[in-house]
Each structure stands twice: as C-alpha cells, then as structure tokens.
C-alpha cells in the first residue's frame, strides 16, 4: 500500500476511535453508576437473585423521575456466585473498573466481611440489606437490615411470653449464626434459662440430610417443657430442613421454629401446608396492611411481569437504603462518599409498613419488629409487632466484649467502636 493511502487510513481510524471514545466518555460522565453485588448462582441464589431484580426496578423508577443530580443512574450487575472471596474481587472490579459510586449488595455476613476491607480501602459505600449479628460498624457500610436487637432478641422475648422453656439454636456454620447464638445464649442465661435447656447445633452451607438433627430436636422437645427452635439456617439448606420437619411431623403447635433468614422468597418454592404456624421475625412482611405496601407490590409485580413473585424484608431494606442514598446525594449535591456520609445521618424516608425509617449515627436505621406465622399460601400472618420503631444497636449489650461499645460516625466521635468506659476509640473497624 502506498504511504499516503496508509497514512490516510490511519488518520481515519484514529479520528473514528477518538470520536467514539469522546462520545463514550461523554456518555460515562452522564450516568451515575450503581453496583449490584448479589449471588445469582450457588447456595445463596435462592435468596439474593430477587434483590438484584429489586435494585433494577428501583433504579428504573428513579430514572423515570429524572435520575439523580440531572444524570441517569446506570446499574452494574455482577455475580459473585455465593463464593465469598469472589465477593471481594467483584467489589474491587465494580469500584476500580466500573467506577460505581455506591454498592447495594451482600447477604451472608461472611460475604460482607470479605467485602469490608475493599470498601474501606477504596472508600465507596455499601448498603447492606440483610439482618446480621452486629458487632460491626463501618464508615462505609450502611446496615439497612436488622441488628440482633431488632430481630433476634424480640423474637426470643415473644417465645418466652408464649411459655417456651427449652431452646434449640440451630444455625449454618459461619459468623452470623455463631455470633447471634452467642448473644442469644448470654441473653437466655441472663433470663434464668439453664444450660441443659439450651441445645446448639451447626451445619454446613447446603446441608441436605436433616434426619438426625430433626430427630434430636424431637427428643429434646419430649422432656415435658415447651421447646422452640431458633433457626439461623441460611440459603437453600432451609428447603430440605423444612421438608424434613414436615415429614417427621414436627408441627408448630408442638415445637415452633422461628427463623431469621427465611422469608416469602425462600418459602415460594416449597409446599408450606405442613409448616403452617412456624414463625419468622422480620421488620416487614408482604402481608402488611398499608397502602404504600400495596402500591409497591403492584409496581414490583408489574416490573417483574409475574403475579406470583413475592416481596420480602431485604427488598424493603434496599427500598429504604436506596431512597436514603438518593436523599443524601441530593442534600450533599454530590456522590462523593465523604459528603454522603455527612449528609445521610438523620435522613428519614418512608418505609413500606406505613411509617418512616431514619438513618442513625451508627449507620443503622430505625425499624418496627414484626413476628409472623407461616400460612398455607407461603405468606405470613402477623401475630405480634412492636408499637413503635426500634433503633439498631451495633454493639450488643449482652456480650461482655461489646457492652461498653457504641458507634457514631458523626463528628466529633467518628468512630465505629468507641468504648464509653475507657473513652477510647479502638480504631479497628472489622
């Protein structure tokens, strides 16, 4: 080829590429990217996939209202596949490669603990929508799910009122059930329950052979005192667990099981007839009678194009967290995480049960506590609720190591674990 023609071709190529990249850059500057970090495969997909869809719906609705700060919101979805180290890798990818300004994600505490060092290093906020064990408060994490005092403790109080004297604490073997059971054991013993009346049991993720454990629960419950099971079992291990309960005839009026990680979504795949009466403790149920809830359910079922899809508590937590982030960004005028962190404390948005939710200085929110019983159609009938809102307490009052700790990210404290007795901030955030 002649040099001139070659030069001309090269010049054409270069200008084309630069035109494209300029337009791409202009495009990129025109959107605010939001990362969605939920397992879409593996043992936790049963719970997390619907949260990805919820975020897509919320972003679409916000864009219809005009976006944020004049720009459109762009969702960036990744699949960390229930693989905890992959959660950390994907977070780094979302922040460094995709340039997201906020991440909505995680379910298991082990996934959150993997992501924590990354968001603290790269300083991008994570909105975490799931109930957890507490004992943590990070500047860059907003805990829109329940802390133990907003779920576990009220549930145990309710069961005690119902006359339960013996307790089985059954959980999946990782940090959330282990820590929650530590808190509950201390709480129960503080209320006078003997160590013989508490049975604790752990199983791996995805455990499917529940025969012996359910038989042990039956035996434990046959000692003459009313027995209940407090379940922190997570993921799809719940399906064979509940099936085995049904098959071995463990009915709720004999030995009630209260679960903290089982909601409408996890029940939508199983036959709930033998499970009627078993309980769950959450801060929201799809059956809550409020107009704002009916509107949300309608909008959700229209978005997902199916009348059979359900709503649940972590979806409400994303709804609250997302709206709080939007409010904070509008207040601060920028998506910069430091500015958002200053602006978001005190932001109050409506929740889906007809009330409101406020962001506290410890990065937890205020929520009502509801206890529901499983019905035949997989919905929950609310049998008890708190009269007002409960503020999330990051550091449990029932564990000796955390009794004296508080968290507050407002100046002048700006500390996740401040010891009120020694007046020192220990500085270690995770």
């Amino acid at each position: 080829m002649k040099l001139a023609t070659r030069m001309r071709k090269l010049a054409l190529a270069v200008s084309a590429v630069s035109a494209l990249s300029v337009s791409a850059a202009v495009q990129a500057a025109d959107t605010i990217k939001v990362g969605i970090l939920h397992s879409l495969s593996g043992t936790m997909a049963i719970s997390e996939t619907t949260l990805k869809d919820t975020m897509l719906m919320l972003i679409e609705e916000q864009n219809k209202k005009g976006g944020l700060l004049g720009k459109k919101l762009e969702p960036v979805v990744v699949d960390p596949a229930s693989d905890w180290p992959l959660f950390a890798e994907k977070t780094r990818e979302l922040i460094s490669k995709d340039g997201v300004d906020a991440i909505f994600g995680c379910w298991t505490s082990v996934s959150r603990k993997s992501v924590l060092p990354v968001v603290e290093e790269l300083k991008v906020p994570l909105f975490y929508p799931v109930q957890y064990e507490g004992e943590e408060s990070s500047k860059y994490v907003y805990y829109t799910g329940a802390a133990p005092n907003q779920q576990a403790i009220p549930a145990v109080d309710y069961l005690m009122d119902q006359g339960v004297k013996r307790w089985v604490l059954a959980g999946t073997d990782y940090v959330y059930p282990r820590t929650t059971n530590k808190i509950l054991e201390a709480y129960l013993k503080g209320k006078g329950v003997a160590a013989d009346d508490i049975m604790i049991n752990y199983t791996p993720f995805g455990h499917s052979d529940w025969q012996s454990i359910v038989a042990d629960i039956k035996k434990f419950g046959a000692a003459g005192k009313k027995t209940a099971v407090v379940s922190t079992i997570n993921g799809d291990a719940n399906v064979p667990f509940y099936k085995e309960l049904g098959n071995q005839g463990v009915t709720a009026d004999a030995i009630p099981v209260v679960a903290f990680s089982v909601g409408e979504e996890e029940l939508s795949g199983i036959d709930t007839k033998p499970l009627v009466g078993h309980l769950a403790a959450w801060n929201y149920f799809m059956s809550v009678d409020a107009e704002v809830n009916e509107e949300f359910i309608e909008a959700w079922q229209k978005f997902i194009k199916s009348e059979d899809r359900v709503t649940n508590d972590p979806m409400e937590a994303h709804y609250i967290g997302f709206n709080m982030w939007i409010e904070a960004v509008k207040k601060a005028g920028t998506t910069d995480p430091e500015a958002v962190s200053d602006a978001i404390v005190g932001v109050t948005v409506p929740n889906l049960s007809g009330g409101v939710s406020a962001m506290m200085p410890n990065h937890h929110i205020t929520k009502p506590v509801l206890i529901g019983e499983i019905q035949e159609d997989g919905q929950f009938e609310i049998v008890w609720q708190t009269s007002g809102l409960v503020a999330g307490d990051a550091w449990s009052d029932f564990l000796p190591g955390s009794k004296d700790l508080i968290a507050s990210w407002r100046a002048p404290l700006s500390c996740g674990n401040y010891n009120v007795k020694t007046a020192k901030c220990s500085g270690q955030n995770y």
């Binding site: 043992t43 499917s208 000692a223 085995e244 098959n247």
Partner: protein
C-alpha cells in the same frame, strides 16, 4: 370541603362499634365478633365458648377456622366457606349454604389464629373425637391426652372406658388412667399404676416415673419406679439405635446409588470420570422437566423419570466416551482433566439453558409423612422408598452383570482385556456400553436425589467426592464392595453425628477411609483375577 363535612356528620351519627359479623344467628355473631378481632386471649375464650355451646355446626365452624376455609365476607358481614378457584375464591354461606359468588382474596377476611389457638382447637377436636364412631379417631384423641396429661382426664375417661369395645383404645385409656394414678395417695395404688405403665414408651410416663424414683415417700414404690424407668429407658435406647441405623441405611443407600455407576466405569475401564456428579445432576433435571410436563401427577412423573433419566444420562455418557475418553485410554491424568472440563461444561450448560438457581421438584403424596412404629420410633416414607429403590437398582445391576451377555462381556473385559479380545469380544463397543450403563445408573441416582435435596447446577459437586470415596473404600469394580462400603460409611457417619456434629462426623469418616486405605489399598473387596492390577 362539603364532602368532608358530610363525612364528619356521618361518622358522628354512626354507632361507635359497628357490628362486623351479621350471620343471622346471634349466638354465632357474638362468638365471631371476638374471633375477628385482634386479641388472641379473647379468641381463645370465644373458641371454648363455641365448643361448649350446643350449636349444631360448632365443630364444622371450628375446623373451618383451623384450616382457613372459614372466612368473613367483609361487605355482607356473613361467614362463608371459601374454596380456591384460580386466583379468586368461591364463597358459600357457612350457615345457610347459599352461593354468594366469586371474590378476590382481599374481600374475604380470615380468622387469624396463632400456635396457641391451634393447640386449643386441637384439644377441642380431640375431645369431640373421644366419642367418635371411628376407633382410629378415638385412639388418636386418647393418645393426644397422653401427650398433655391433666387431672380432669380421669373423669372424662372412666365412663367411656366401660363402654369401650376396641382393644387398642381400651389399653390406651387404661394407660392414661394409670398415668394419672401414679399421683394417687395410696402407695399400693401407686405401685399398681407403676406396673400398669411399665410397658409404655411415652415421654409423659418416663417423666413421671423419673420424679417418683427420686422423691416418692414410699420406699417400695420408689424402687419399683426406678426399675421400671430403667427398663423403659433401655428400650428407648434400643429404639434410638434402630432409628440411627435407619438414618445410616438411608444415607448409605444415597451414597451407594451415587457411587455404583462409578464403580462400573472406574472398575471396568479404569477411567476416572470427574463428570460423574454432573451425570447425576442431569438425571435430577430430567425429573424436573418431566414434572413440568405433567404437573398434576407427581407420582406418575417420578416413575416415568426413572427410565427417562437412565436414557438421558446414558446417552450423554456414551457421548463422552466416544467423543473424548476413547482417545485417552491409558492416560489417566489426561482423562481426569478432560472429564473435569466436561463437568464444568455440563454445569454451565444447565445454568444457561435452564436457570442458575435451584429448580423446585415436588414430592408425590406417597413420599411425604412417616410410618409410626411406636411412640419413639417413626420412619419417614421418602427414606424408606429410597432404601428400597437402592436395593432394587442394585439387584437389577447385579442381574445385568451376572445373567446377561453384556454383563459377561463387561466382566471379561475388566478382568483380562487382551484375553477377552482374543475370545472375540468387541472390547471398544463394550467400553462404550459400560460407560453408558454406569452413566445411566448415575442418572437414576439423580432421580432419587431430586426427592431428597435441592436440585441445582451444583448438585453433582456435592456427591462426586462421596462417590469416589465409596468406590475406593469398597473396592474398585466390585458391586458388593460398593454396597457394603456405602452402607457401612453411611451408618458410621450417622452414629458419629450425635456427638461429633454433622461437619466433624464427615471429617472423621474421611480420616477413617484414608487410614483404611493405608492398610488395604485395594479396598474392602478387591478384584480377583490373574491379570487384574495389584
């Protein structure tokens, strides 16, 4: 503004408490006003009131509250039976039988009950069943009394005992009366009662005897209670062991089903097939797909899935053998790597074509529930059927290998390939068919597993290690070895689980297998034959 003032006027004129229930029957109205409310204590007393009344439909209504069929039609304030029809409910007046039409769920309010109220209702139904015509219902209600003993049961039972004709119900009633007599004032009465309950395994009996063995004032009675309790506890322990044995057999049969296909392919051809777990997974997905095709008959779809899964996995297996493994004979490491790659491909194929999430496979009616042997031993039906199924599969495979021509050829090729070929056996065709047979059995194992565990793309990963462990432990290529090895590992796992926990028990099993292999590297029942590899 005008509308607002009219509204306020209306609200002032209206009575403070509008009646919510107007069925036409004042007795029912009064009771259901409380039941529709939100105070659970009031509901409990309203239920007891209704049960104690003489209203002819009282038990029908109470049962309707229990199963949720009885609802309040908010608009007309009548109680209706609600039958689900698609997305709506067909409402029939509960007291008059008049058809009211179809309504959406929101228009019909359920009577909300909690667990305590369910217990109250169960007690009411049990008391009614005490006089039922059906002896099975009478027996159930007396057994419910044993579970919740209370002093007033004596007065309820004594007149009925005289009229009772059914022997089972009589002995159950006598047991309840003996249990009550354990608290009698006269020591000789108590002694008689201890004798009367000494055959029972009920926990209420054990509890009472336990209290008496410690604190009874009369020495003879105390000793009698202690020895009766000891005998009962020995029997309870025995049944506990039988139950653990059952659990072990069911876990073992799952292991055997998963491993037996591998025993054949590994045994005959020495091929390490890392895609074996995915062949199991394909069988489980075949069950799901067939269930989607016939959603109303879960039992029939399950039976049809067995040959279908055999075909599907068998054909995939033959495909793998002809397409990949055939070229890698004599190179075990390459085969391992290649089949591992195939397993990843199969997993991703399922994720893309079906869904990355688990798919729901429902259990047919005959596989739910349990068989009650006595008050401490109950066997779940699904596990019983799996154990039976495993035995059937084993026998079928055994017959194929021992009685058919293909089986003869398979055994010949696995013992001495060169000699078999010299005898005219087409060894490469036998290889393909053997691989197909082993893979087909894996598919059938997938059908069984779909009834016990979640069906997802990762199903195979959970069973591949277990399958290899059973095959290595039992002896490569030996069916009996796989059976004995699998069942004994399952039983050992279940006996260790109560004191070591699920995770630790699994670890201990693996350690035991490793130590066993050190002593006997060829497994429990190694292959015999002059040219068989040592």
């Amino acid at each position: 503004m005008k509308f607002l003032s009219v509204l306020i006027l209306c609200l002032l004129i209206m009575p403070v408490h509008a009646a919510k229930v107007e069925t036409g029957d004042p007795q029912v109205d009064a009771v259901f006003e409380a039941l529709i409310g939100s105070n659970f204590a009031e509901k409990a007393s309203a239920l007891k009131q209704l049960a104690a009344s003489d209203h002819p439909q009282r038990f029908e209504l109470i049962e309707g509250i229990f199963d949720g069929r009885l609802r309040l039609h908010k608009k007309s304030k009548r109680l209706v039976w609600a039958e689900k029809q698609g997305r709506k409910y067909l409402a029939t007046d509960a007291l008059s039988g008049e058809q009211l039409g179809e309504f959406k769920k929101r228009k019909l309010k359920k009577v909300s009950i909690n667990n305590k109220l369910r217990g109250v209702i169960k007690g009411i139904i049990a008391t009614r069943d005490l006089d039922s015509e059906d002896p099975a219902l009478r027996l159930k209600s007396v057994q419910a009394m044993l579970a919740n003993p209370s002093p007033d049961q004596v007065d309820t039972l004594i007149p009925r005992l005289e009229k009772e004709t059914d022997p089972q119900v009589r002995s159950a009633m006598q047991l309840v009366l003996s249990l009550a007599n354990l608290g009698a004032d006269d020591p000789s009465e108590r002694l008689k009662a201890v004798d009367g309950v000494s055959d029972s395994l009920e926990s209420a009996v054990r509890q009472k005897l336990g209290e008496m063995a410690v604190s009874d004032p009369d020495v003879t009675v105390k000793k009698a209670a202690a020895s009766a309790l000891r005998k009962i506890e020995d029997r309870v322990d025995l049944f506990g062991h039988i139950e653990t044995l059952f659990f072990g057999l069911s876990l073992g049969s799952v292991l055997v089903l998963a491993a037996i296909g591998l025993a054949i392919t590994f045994g005959v051809m020495g091929v390490i097939n890392m895609a074996h777990g995915e062949l199991i997974m394909l069988g489980a997905y075949t069950t799901y797909l067939i269930q989607q095709l016939m959603p109303e008959s879960a039992g029939l779809s399950l039976l049809l899935s067995i040959p279908a899964a055999f075909m599907v996995s068998g054909l995939v297996g033959i495909g793998i053998e002809r397409g990949v493994i055939r070229f890698l004979y004599g190179r075990p490491l390459e085969t391992l790597l290649a089949t591992f790659g195939i397993s990843l491909i199969l997993q991703q194929l399922v994720r893309t074509l079906v869904s990355p999430q688990n798919v729901p496979v429902s259990n047919p009616e005959f596989m739910s529930g349990f068989l009650q042997i006595n008050s401490v031993l109950s066997l779940t039906y699904n596990r019983l059927y799996i154990i039976l199924f495993c035995m059937l599969v084993f026998v079928a495979l055994f017959m194929i290998l021992k009685r058919t021509r293909l089986g003869l050829q398979v055994r010949a090729v696995s013992q001495n390939r060169a000699m078999a070929r010299a005898m005219g056996v087409h060894s490469s065709r036998v290889d393909a068919l053997t691989f197909g047979l082993g893979s087909g059995i894996a598919g059938v194992a997938g059908v069984a597993l779909s009834q016990l565990t979640n069906v997802g793309p990762n199903l195979g990963q959970a069973y591949i290690v277990d399958s290899f462990m059973v095959v290595v432990f039992g002896g490569v290529g030996n069916l009996w070895g796989t059976l004995v090895g699998g069942l004994s590992l399952g039983i050992a796992n279940k006996f260790m689980e109560p004191w070591a926990g699920a995770v630790m028990a699994k670890i201990l099993i693996l350690v035991i297998v490793i130590l066993f292999i050190q002593k006997r590297p060829r497994g429990l029942f190694p292959q015999k034959g002059r040219a068989a590899e040592g």
